[in-house]
Amino acid sequence: MSVSVSMKVNGKTATGTVEPRTLLVQFLREHLGLTGTHVGCDTSQCGACVVHVDGKSVKACTMFALRADGAEVSTIEGLAKDGALHPMQEAFREHHGLQCGFCTPGMVMSAIDLVKRHNYKLDESTVRHGLEGNLCRCTGYHNIVKAVLEGAKAMQAKGV
């Protein structure tokens, strides 16, 4: 059985025909070719698939594509505007908050939502607890934490 689904992804309408069991992450990756969102586990633990649905971070492997019907979805591909990186992306680059890059899209999407939820006011402990749903095997988190704290400042300064 196939059903049709329609949502806004990074500001553009995206429609497709999916199986009811198709996950949002599969719809993004396999139907729309937005392969920046990654799959790192099968128990919704690793956070490599985090995207924003209606402005909130969501693990796209825990949500059926159908559930996102009519929603506004943003993915890592939609963050940079007019060729300029989002301040959080820039902070990750500046502070070496990524190595292999696999967890990075989910980490950045989670970080942005975390900063907004805390109204730009975060300390190291808030960041560490707030990112516990995103696994990274490369960095030991040291530079990710640094990047998120600096990214929060830059987001506030730029009003994003």
Binding site: E19, R21, R29, E30, G33, L34, T35, G36, T37, H38, V39, G40, C41, D42, T43, Q45, C46, A48, T75, I76, E77, L79, A80, L85, Q89, F92, R93, E94, H96, L98, Q99, C100, G101, F102, C103, T104, P105, V108, E124, S125, V127, R128, H129, L131, E132, N134, L135, C136, R137, C138, T139, G140, Y141, H142, N143, I144, V145, K146
Partner: protein
């Protein structure tokens, strides 16, 4: 040092694509007419396969083919190989039982692949696999390496009686026994080095395609060393000629050793792509990664250290049982021998050392190199026993080490376990580390913790590694099946920009940046005009890949050699252009100059002339500017350092929190400190993970993997780790052109011993003698309760 040259914190070139979702990982690939594979795996630790009925799967919707062990055997797909021959004490090579890509008549661990289903979609392949009926006759299993050696233990392979792969030794046993006989004190430890599951965040994946028109196979795979994959599949397993097999390792999401090896899945995809006549892709689900990636560590060790009355180390003896798992993975045999026993001198002058290693087969996933590979195990043994001795003798742990360090003027230093150290300053690194960690102020902090009802401890780990793998002749004499040089090609384009082809592979290490800095430094070309290309056997001449902290020391050195050839040729061209003798041409900062004059020509001009040779010495010199180099190192490199961990234990809950972690490392010269620090942080994260959190646990009765998901295997999360203090001691490597030693594994090597020494230091006052990794709250709490009970009874 320029703004972007050697020593500069250059932001990474690769980050733009990773930060914007434009990385190209294997699973991102979509080939025209692509199909999907799913592997049916054994649910049993050990069983005979009586029968496989795949009829329903073959006729299931979308299914193109189903293959079982019998099909593979009939097609003469070769056994997966182990590429390093370790000789037993008796001179015989290690036992090498067959490792079929699909189990033929017996499964030997949970996750052993039994059948491959290929279908139009991944879901169809998986659905069809569920209909395959495998009639298993369960057999008793053994997962514990020490128990596998018991006479009554279930036997895995007819080729390996007693489950013994080899019984190996190194060192002078008679000298060790003599030293123990005159020792004033003997310190003893019994240690378990816990099994770890590597868990790169990108699961293993592969895609294969066969071109019937050319007979060419292409394999995309999550590999740390695509050329080695091609060599092994060609020469040993599939028989596809090397020139008809192209292996591409695109962006790879972390490896940590687990992606060095050649596994069943990519082997079978390659083979089946011709059978099916369509591209096939497979991506591991995380549960498959847990049961089928090569695991790490898993040693059981008894060690004794003999000391004289002044605390000088006289001799060390070590007995280890190492778990190989059910089959030998690609380099499994070398890990607990030549990457372990040879490191047991550590940073010390211990004159006599003997190590005995029995490697055994068990009904578990294969065990092979995982970040550090043998060296973390050696460091753990040595640094745990050194601090045990310090506690026994009531000598300060730093002072005991200082009394035994190899002196800074003792290089080259021949250890009693084969290696010749080239350089180091161990006392210097320790002094810096103690200062950064405020070792002097520790007792005050301990008292403050005590006042709050907490137990504080501090531990050191003075580690050494043998990296920069490896001098080919040396490893060849020890049983390696390959050379361990690296290759590089530096190719200028006529417009003056540069493509650098390296046989190293980057899967997070930042080679595209570091190597560009090296080339920029040597040739004076801005790094924006340098492209580093890796990971494709069709473009990179050759490569041995990335492991053993070798990329910069060996791969970077090959690049320097190629740059030297560019300069040498450039001088001849410049001499012609400037009407001077080549001997008079100097090259600096991208410009050729006639010595002592202002006559000069930029490298870009020389390059243009080489490609548009209108005024060019064509009778003496070939046109073009494109140089190849191979570099085979003269020795290993020996990164070393001292890590200091301070923990605070809550005796009521058993939670051990890391209060402070300090690392001072000697990696020789440093090209990009930002990247190096990232490598150190990541290694420490994995080391702390081993010490406090991670444990690959198999049920002793059923052989099931109990820690087979992220719900059960405790990966370090952001709130499990502290920030780290990192410093350097720099003694350049004397035998490679960059003076570098390698930094990728240090943290994982040093940290476990530092953390566990700190925990033992914290718990010693309450009577806890010994605790194994991972020091989980439950284990720490129980150890404290047992010590309390014992103290109360006394």
């Amino acid at each position: 040092m320029g703004e972007k040259g050697i020593g500069a914190r250059v932001a990474r070139k690769e980050d733009q694509r990773f930060l914007t979702g434009n990385g190209h990982y294997t699973d991102d690939l979509q080939r025209n007419r692509q199909t999907y594979a799913f592997f049916l795996r054994s649910p049993h630790a050990h069983a005979k396969i009586r029968k496989i009925d795949a009829a329903a799967a073959k006729s299931a919707p979308g299914v193109l083919a189903v293959f079982t062990g019998a099909d593979i055997a009939e097609a003469k797909v070769g056994s997966l190989i182990c590429g390093w021959v370790v000789k037993d004490k008796n001179g015989e090579p290690h036992k090498a039982p067959p490792h079929p890509a699909l189990a033929l008549d017996t499964v030997r661990h949970v996750g052993d692949p039994v059948a491959m289903v290929i279908a139009e979609t991944a879901a169809q392949a998986k659905d069809a696999a569920e209909t395959i009926a495998v009639d298993y006759e369960e057999l008793p299993s053994v997962v514990n390496p020490a128990k596998a050696l018991a006479k009554s233990a279930p036997q895995l392979h007819a080729e390996a009686p007693g489950n013994l792969c080899y019984d190996w030794e190194l060192g002078d046993k008679a000298a060790v026994d003599a030293a123990f006989a005159k020792a004033a004190h003997v310190a003893k430890v019994d240690l378990v080095n816990n099994r770890l599951i590597p868990n790169a965040m990108e699961p293993r994946a592969a895609a294969a395609e066969y071109d019937a028109g050319t007979g060419q196979y292409t394999l995309w795979t999550t590999s740390q060393n695509p050329h080695v994959t091609r060599l092994v599949l060609s020469a040993f397993v599939l028989g596809i000629p090397e020139h008809k097999l192209r292996v591409i390792a695109p962006d790879v999401g972390g490896g940590f050793g687990s992606k060095i090896f050649i596994y069943s899945e990519e082997t079978l995809l390659t083979w089946a792509s011709a059978k099916v006549g369509r591209p096939i892709k497979w991506t591991a689900e995380r549960n498959e990664s847990f049961v089928s990636d090569a695991h790490g560590r898993d040693h059981v060790t008894h060690a004794e250290l003999a000391l004289d009355k002044d605390g000088k180390f006289l001799a060390l003896k070590v007995d280890t049982i190492a778990n190989m798992g059910a089959y030998l993975s690609t380099f499994a045999t070398a890990v607990p021998t030549y990457l372990y026993g040879t490191l047991l001198a550590g940073q010390y002058t211990t004159p006599a050392i003997h190590v005995n290693v029995k490697s055994v087969f068990t009904n578990t996933a294969p065990v092979d190199a995982y970040r550090g590979a043998g060296r973390p195990e050696a460091t753990f043994v040595l640094e745990r026993i050194v601090e045990q001795a310090a506690r026994d003798l009531k000598i300060d742990k730093a002072e005991l080490r200082r009394r035994n360090f190899i002196a800074t003027d003792a290089y080259p230093y021949q250890t009693p376990v084969a290696l010749t150290y080239d350089s180091g300053n161990y006392a210097g690194a320790m002094s810096k580390a103690l200062e950064l960690a405020d070792y002097a102020g520790f007792e005050k902090r301990r008292a403050e913790s005590k006042a709050k009802g907490k137990l504080r401890g501090i531990g050191l780990s003075a580690y050494i590694e043998a990296c920069g793998l490896a001098p080919s002749a040396v490893v060849g004499s020890l049983g390696a099946g390959v050379g361990q040089w690296e290759s590089a090609q530096v190719r200028f384009n006529p417009t003056g920009n540069v493509q650098v082809y390296t046989g190293s592979h980057s899967h997070g290490q930042g080679h595209e940046t570091t190597f560009a800095q090296v080339v920029s430094n040597h040739l004076g070309v801005p790094i924006e005009q340098i492209e580093v290309i890796h990971g494709d056997t069709a473009s990179v001449p050759f490569g041995m890949g990335t492991y053993g902290s070798r990329s910069l020391a060996v791969g970077g050195s090959a690049i320097v050699k190629a740059c030297d050839k560019i300069v040498a040729k450039g001088k001849k061209i410049a001499a012609h252009m400037l009407e001077a003798s080549a001997a008079d041409i100097e090259f600096k900062d991208g410009t050729f100059t006639v010595a002592g004059t202002d006559k000069s020509v930029p490298l870009a001009g020389v390059v243009f002339s080489a490609y548009v040779p209108h005024n060019y010495p064509l009778n003496e010199l070939e046109p073009g500017m494109d140089e190849n180099a191979f570099y085979d190192p003269a020795n290993f490199t020996y990164p070393a350092g001292v890590h200091v961990c301070e923990v605070e234990v809550d005796p009521d809950t058993g939670v051990a929190s890391i209060a402070k972690f300090t690392a001072v490392d000697d990696f020789g010269n440093i090209i990009n400190p930002m990247i190096v620090e990232g490598q150190v942080h990541g290694g420490i994260g994995q080391g702390i993970g081993q010490a406090l959190l991670e444990h690959g646990v198999y049920d002793e009765k059923s052989g099931q993997l109990l820690s087979g998901s992220y719900m059960d295997y405790t990966m370090p999360r952001a709130d499990d780790l502290p920030s780290f203090d990192v410093g350097y001691q720099i003694t350049p490597c004397p035998h490679n052109p960059l003076g570098v030693k390698g930094c990728g594994e240090a943290g994982a090597i040093a940290a476990p011993a530092a953390v566990m020494n700190a925990i033992h230091d914290a718990l010693a006052p309450v009577g806890v003698q010994s605790i194994d990794m991972p020091a989980t709250p439950a284990r720490v709490w129980q150890a404290i309760q047992q010590a309390n009970t014992k103290m109360a009874a006394e």
